[in-house]
Amino acid sequence: MKTLVTGALLTLAANFPAVADVNLDELVQQAERAAYYAGEDGRSQARMMIVDGQGRKQMRQFTILRKDVEDNGDQKMLVFFDRPTDVKDTVFRVEKHALLDQDDDRWLYLPALDLVKRISAGDKRTSFVGSHFFYEDVSGRAIAEDSFSLQQETDTQYVLRAEPKKPDTVEFAYYDVSIDKATSLPVLINFYKASGEHYRQVEAVQIETIQGYPTVVRSKVTDLASGGYTLMEFRGAEYDLGLPDDLFSERSLRTPPRQWLN
């Protein structure tokens, strides 16, 4: 029901700037599906290179396991760290809830401290392990969080402007997202302050089709103020592995499910 209402509002808003035949609601849902819900489940190895304004680099390497409860809906996720080796076997566990007023559940396992800790939901726009990606960039910002309007349509892309429904919970005033018509993937997101200052950019650098799913295999976030950026590369992505539900439980934190990780 809620989705319907939101969708109606979105469509209404979109009707003003013209281009009446684009169904915005469908467009953003499709984009969300393409970006975060490919297949029923998925696995990928990821490597982040965090580069600061002075060009100094830090590396993070991890494996992500994901299983959808429902497309455009709830998801379960596990992130297992490999490198640097001093954080090896650190695990994040996430139960993502798509509804606007339901917070995600997040847990953390730190092997060297022999500690499982729940992370209070609160703010999702904190750094993901020191990178320029936010936690929310990795798990996916639910489309229900923003109101979209169509800015521009080109031969290959739609450009949508998104404004947060709860401006207090985010650091941006709005963002413009370019959605590739061919793949439905968001390929460029520019974040702006209320002053109009363009301060942050997320881009899909390379896209490959894996098992029929267009997949972003290189993406980059740039902090335009400092010039620092993080480059994230994915490899070995696979979909529809049949990951069991009980994999996404507290047990996997202390005992990494080796057979699903390689």
Binding site: V87, L110, P111, A112, G122, T126
Partner: protein, 844 residues
């Protein structure tokens, strides 16, 4: 020399217009550079740009991503201190304003609303959240913020005070030359707050900016005022405006040409060089006063004007040349001090004095030769009109003569005792300085400094930089094992791609390269070799991260505890504190978990959490990403060099008694430390320049008088005077600071002038009379009057500095005025006594 001077005077008196023209053109041409003035107020420039301490300081700033910061403080009288809704709303809205100001490093702004709180949302749940995302809507909510801040040692006593009465916002800025604009924007906001809180804006960039402004005030007010004072004095002496226009022209031309040359040559105007005008003006007129005194004495109506001028100049040329050279030697000796602004000051004032001499001996004769008969008659009327009515200054001089001649023995004893006490006083001198104290005590910067340092752990920053200087295994070495078949090309390629990286980045990239290679098609043999190398690289990279080791962090923590216990440091912050806070919140949130974890991996995992906040970059203010350099940030409540020196000593003693782990080195950075370095340089440098000036002036005196005895006599009054002044400084406990240090050498060159004129004239009169008693009687006529006049010109010429807005200027004013007055007095009182007692050696 006399023949040369005579020829020159003839030339000048015959072609006065040419002289005027040359002087005018030179003054206009070089003076036209003055509008290009560049003010330099950065205390850092007291050290040469390539000085190791300064290089390390800037390197540290860069490595740890630090910027100069404006500090905004608020003090509230509310019963809950700043933890009330109104004040925190103001803090919040001001922070929003600040974040939007161009030139502010927004990501590094430290304020209650821009930092993270880490705490327990519930048992077993850690929470990262903005400390004050939205301002509190009630005083109860405001108190919750207090409870949060008090749990975070990195913020407590830095963002809010222990008393709870004060809060601060630290505003790092990209370019400190923008600080004025930024501070004004902030001030405009704080002026709009109406809740009775007191707002303060300070920080080094603001202080420097303010300083530059006050320097202009000084140059714009004190220098013209000095000109006016000298003009009035000259009028009192000579009562003849056309006559005293001449020395004023000399002074103006000298100042304009010297400043124009300084600016035209591309030097910045620093606090020292901003005083050039006020130094040159009185010194420049001194020679003219001698000429005018003697000219007005000798010229009688009906005489040939040119002849009198020739005679006067011929008579005074040598002593004037020597006094000018000795004065410039005093200033030139400052070039031995390894402090660039002091060197530039010395060089330009020294040259300016020689220039003044040159202008005096060319322009004054030209000017005198063109004086109208009516002006000359008026001069006569004033000076010789009434033989009985001596000028007041002449009466004083005669009075001094009576004392000097009658109480010779007592005078000598008194001076001997004063000298002895002064020598003891010098041993009591306290060396100390603090650029913030260059502002007067009621200046808003000083007020803000006092208030904020009263409430907080300190606004003066110093950094202990600890580096691991031991070697990290190179990727080259790790790849040196013979690779299995088919990998050699890959090894060569990899080695080449790693060449220009730092050691730890080499390891990191090597790991990535191997990892990628393993992902491609490799044989089993290749895979085994790669895995082995990968493991070695992984563990090499891990063990290279020195400051992730709990043992090393514990060393740092103990050093911090030692510093805190000493009471000399307001607060210290380090990577160890970051780790302990996160560790505590990861565990129970209770004080007993405020400890370092027990392994490097645990530290790494703790820090991985710290980086999962809104401000991951904060970590790099404490440690470099390779974990091989770290810093301990010290907050000091005093910027006095003495206090900083104690802290440096404390650390060095501690490190000596408790050696750091192998390979670690300790260095210092931070402005408070740099001040200590340049002050040490200055003290050592000043001793060099004082001694060298003393030796050079002494040799010049021996040459001038062609007598060692007269050389010693010439040095006697200034030795007594300088010893007395510095003894006094030691005894009254005035800090020996930058202006006082600088003045020691240059006063030597200035105060010897009186002795030169006194001895020169004594010898001349003695040759005529052959009788010492008669000679000394005569000396307290015109010669003593001229000396007293000059002493007054110089001493009073510096007094406008007393009205200057900055303390160093005032110190210079008081100091120079008294040293000039005292050395003239000592010259007149001591030399007759010594010459009488030692007559057998003096007049052989």
């Amino acid at each position: 020399m006399t023949r040369f001077s005579a020829a020159m005077v003839v030339l000048c008196t015959q072609k006065p217009k040419t002289i005027y023209l040359v002087l005018l053109v030179l003054t206009l041409l070089i003076g036209s550079q003055i509008p290009r003035i560049q003010i330099d107020t950065d205390p850092e420039n007291m050290l040469d740009a390539s000085h190791p301490a300064r290089v390390l300081h800037n390197q540290t700033k860069q490595q740890f991503s630090m910027h100069d910061a404006i500090v905004v403080g608020v003090v509230s009288d509310h019963p809950q201190g700043v933890y009330n809704a109104l004040t925190l709303n103001d803090v919040h809205s001001l922070t929003e304003t600040i974040l939007d100001i161009d030139g502010v490093v927004a990501s590094d702004v430290m304020a209650l609303s821009t930092v993270d709180n880490i705490d327990q949302a519930a048992p077993g749940t850690i929470r990262f959240e903005w400390m004050m995302k939205t301002p509190p809507s009630s005083d109860e909510q405001a108190l919750e913020i207090r409870d949060k801040v008090e749990r975070l040692p990195l913020l407590y006593d830095t963002l809010t005070s222990q008393s709870g009465k004060a809060a601060a916002i630290y505003v790092p800025i990209v370019d400190k030359n923008e600080s004025y604009r930024i501070a004004e924007t902030i001030r405009a906001s704080t002026n709009g707050f109406t809740h009775g809180d007191n707002w303060y804006i300070t920080g080094l960039p603001v202080a420097e900016d303010q300083f530059g402004f006050e320097m202009f005030v000084q140059m714009g007010i004190s220098a013209p005022l000095a000109g006016l004072t000298i003009f009035i004095l000259l009028f009192v002496f000579f009562r003849n405006v056309p006559l005293i226009i001449a020395p004023m022209v000399v002074a103006m031309a000298t100042v304009i040409i010297t400043m124009g040359a300084l600016i035209g040559l591309g030097f910045t105007v620093h606090i020292m060089s901003s005083m050039i005008a006020i130094f040159l003006m009185p010194i420049a007129v001194v020679d003219s006063v001698h000429i005018l005194s003697e000219f007005s004495d000798r010229y009688k109506p009906g005489q040939n004007l040119h002849d009198v001028v020739n005679e006067v100049i011929g008579h005074l040329f040598t002593p004037m040349l020597y006094t000018s050279v000795t004065s410039s030697v005093g200033f030139y000796s400052l070039m031995l001090t390894p402090i660039p602004p002091v060197q530039i000051f010395g060089a330009f004032v020294g040259t300016g004095i020689l220039l003044a001499f040159l202008i005096t001996v060319t322009f004054i004769p030209a000017y005198l030769a063109r004086m109208s008969d009516s002006s000359l008659e008026k001069l006569q009327a004033v000076l010789h009109g009434d033989g009985d009515k001596q000028s007041r200054i002449a009466r004083v001089a005669r009075g001094l003569g009576t004392i000097a001649n009658r109480f010779q023995s007592s005078l000598l004893s008194v001076f001997a005792i004063v000298f002895a006490i002064s020598v003891w006083g010098i041993t009591q001198i306290q060396i100390n300085d603090n650029p913030v104290r260059w502002f007067k005590s009621d200046h808003e910067i000083r007020v803000a400094d006092r208030v904020l340092n009263h409430h907080f752990a300190g606004t003066y920053d110093a950094y202990i930089v600890i580096k691991d200087r031991s070697d990290v295994p190179s990727a080259q070495a790790l790849l040196s094992d013979t690779p299995p078949q088919g990998l050699s090309d890959w090894v060569v390629e990899t080695q080449q791609s790693l060449q220009n990286l730092s050691a730890t980045e080499q390891l990191q990239q090597l790991i990535i390269a191997i990892d990628d290679k393993l992902f491609s098609d490799v044989t089993e043999q290749q895979s085994a070799w790669l895995e082995k190398t990968l493991n070695t690289a992984d563990s090499a990279l891990n063990s290279a991260k020195t400051f992730q080791s709990p043992q090393v962090l514990n060393t740092i923590q103990e050093l911090q505890a030692h510093l805190q216990a000493s009471g000399l440091v307001g607060k210290s912050n380090s990577l160890a504190d970051v780790v302990k806070v996160v560790n505590r919140e990861l565990r129970s949130g209770q004080p007993n978990d405020y400890v370092l974890p027990n392994s490097s991996a645990a530290v790494a995992q703790t820090l991985l959490q710290y980086q999962s906040s809104h401000r991951p970059q904060d970590l790099w203010h404490f440690v470099t990403p390779d974990y091989r350099s770290t810093l301990i940030w010290l907050q000091l409540t005093s910027g006095d060099n003495q206090d900083m020196t104690h802290v440096v000593q404390l650390v060095s003693d501690y490190v000596e008694a408790n050696p750091l782990p192998q390979g670690l080195s300790v260095d210092w950075a931070g402005k408070a430390y740099l001040n200590v370095v340049w002050q040490d340089n200055m003290v050592a440098g000043m001793l060099d320049s004082l001694l060298s000036a003393f030796v050079i002036v002494f040799i010049m005196m021996v040459l001038l008088f062609r007598s060692v005895v007269f050389g010693v006599l010439a040095m006697l009054p200034l030795t007594i005077t300088i010893t007395f002044i510095y003894g006094l400084i030691g005894i009254v406990g005035k800090d020996y600071d930058m202006p006082i240090a600088v003045l020691s050498a240059l006063t030597l060159g200035l105060s010897v002038d009186f002795a030169i004129h006194f001895l020169e004239r004594t010898r001349a009169i003695y040759q005529q009379t052959g009788d010492l008693k008669q000679t000394l009687q005569a000396m307290f006529g015109e010669p003593a009057t001229a000396i007293s006049r000059n002493a007054l010109v110089i001493a009073l010429g510096f007094t406008p500095l007393l009205f200057a807005p900055l303390v160093p200027y005032i110190t210079v004013g008081v100091f120079l005025a008294s040293i000039m007055a005292i050395s003239a007095l000592v010259t007149l009182l001591v030399l007759p006594a010594v010459m009488s007692k030692a007559r057998r050696w003096v007049f052989r």
